[in-house]
């Protein structure tokens, strides 16, 4: 019983020590491992901890998925996202600074390739249809939920799931934008 009480007190002390250590570190960079492995997407994030459970930051990613490109070329989709810049505001839902759930609202400036069918005339005034590729950009808004934990007061592991909607150019851009990732980060 004494041993259990000792371990409990030790764990609490360590946890509080880690919390106070983390509170002093205001910046964090992260790299999304999941997106790179599954979607051939390079995704990096920065987060600034502003206190009172709030933080702000941005995520930026670039994608060149061969599967999406093949689907695009073969007509299974009419757009293929290439980049996103997602500023966000995040709120920690748990009291612990070292392991906590969070919710965030994010904006998105995103773009990529778009394809449409157009009718053209050849030199003999005969019509034919072909596909015409162009670029699109759009602005979206969404929300996410996630869980974050720290090791050694500096290494972050974060899981996030979020969805949003594009708002201004949905004839060309994807309706849905997603923010799903497994991030490894460094807090300093």
């Amino acid at each position: 019983m004494k041993k259990l009480l000792f371990l409990f007190l030790l764990f609490s002390a360590l946890s509080q020590a880690q919390d106070s250590g983390l509170a002093a570190k205001k910046n964090e960079f992260r790299f999304d491992v999941l997106s790179l492995l599954t979607s051939q997407k390079i995704s990096v994030s920065y987060e600034r901890f502003v206190g009172n459970s709030w933080s702000v930051g941005f995520n930026t990613n670039f994608s060149n998925s061969s599967k999406l490109n093949d689907d695009f070329d073969n007509g299974y989709r009419n757009n293929v996202p290439k980049f996103e810049v997602n500023p966000y505001v995040r709120y920690a839902l748990s009291k612990s600074k070292s392991r906590y759930y969070f919710a965030e609202v994010f904006g998105s400036y995103n773009g990529g390739d778009f394809k449409e069918i157009v009718r053209k005339l050849d030199e003999n005034n005969i019509a034919y249809y072909t596909t015409l590729k162009s670029k699109y950009t759009d602005i979206g808004l969404g929300g996410s939920l996630g869980y974050k934990m720290y090791f050694n007061e500096k290494i972050a592991l974060e899981f996030i799931v979020g969805f949003g909607k594009n708002l201004t150019n949905i004839d060309k851009s994807p309706d849905v934008i997603s923010r799903v990732g497994l991030n490894l980060g460094y807090r300093f």
Partner: protein
């Protein structure tokens, strides 16, 4: 109290955003649809006897008129030089009052004059491109092996009973043309009814 309110506001915002998620990013974006008429003809006869074939034929140019357009459409160029258009039809025999059974024969029993065809639960016909005449051609006879009342229809793979759908053979990265063509010899229910006698 304020913190709890913030938490619930955040969660509610996220739930609302997620619940509105929908996508227009699926589907098939290389398909074109055209409306035409009488691209496929049934070779009707006043009477059929056992041993006759019922023939279907098609002979349509690569250049087709489009509703609302003055210039002809080059289907061959649009589809990346599609070698064929395919369509399907079903031949059934009456085996009881208002009871019909699909008639099947071996592919070798089909009389293929132009184009190609396979028979299973329906006949899959292929209108093959002829570079000399610059047209797609099909002329295939289906053997009538016994007496009785028969009906022929195109509705098996079509969205309309009185139209046949012809689809160009897809090529990777190229457009696919789907033509819906009215067939004048069908009744309002989409059947050509005929009788085979001895």
């Amino acid at each position: 109290m304020k913190m709890k309110l913030l938490k619930y506001t955040c969660l509610l915002t996220i739930v609302l955003l997620l619940s509105n998620c929908d996508t227009n990013d699926d589907g098939f974006y290389n398909d074109l649809y055209l409306e035409t008429s009488n691209l496929v003809q049934i070779q009707t006869q006043p009477t059929f006897t056992v041993g006759d074939n019922i023939y279907l034929n098609a002979d349509f140019s690569r250049y087709q008129t489009e509703p609302g357009q003055t210039e002809p459409l080059d289907m061959y160029k649009t589809t990346g030089n599609a070698s064929e258009f395919s369509f399907s039809y079903v031949i059934e025999k009456e085996v009881g009052t208002d009871t019909w059974e699909v008639v099947t024969v071996n592919d070798s029993q089909l009389d293929i004059i132009e184009g190609d065809a396979q028979n299973g639960s329906f006949v899959l016909g292929h209108c093959i491109y002829d570079s000399v005449s610059e047209s797609y051609k099909y002329n295939v006879g289906f053997p009538l092996l016994s007496t009785g009342n028969y009906r022929l229809s195109f509705g098996y793979n079509s969205t309309s009973a009185t139209k046949v759908e012809l689809r160009s053979k897809p090529k990777p990265g190229k457009l696919v043309i789907n033509m819906r063509s009215q067939i004048s010899t069908l009744n309002s229910s989409g059947y050509y009814l005929f009788t085979v006698t001895n």
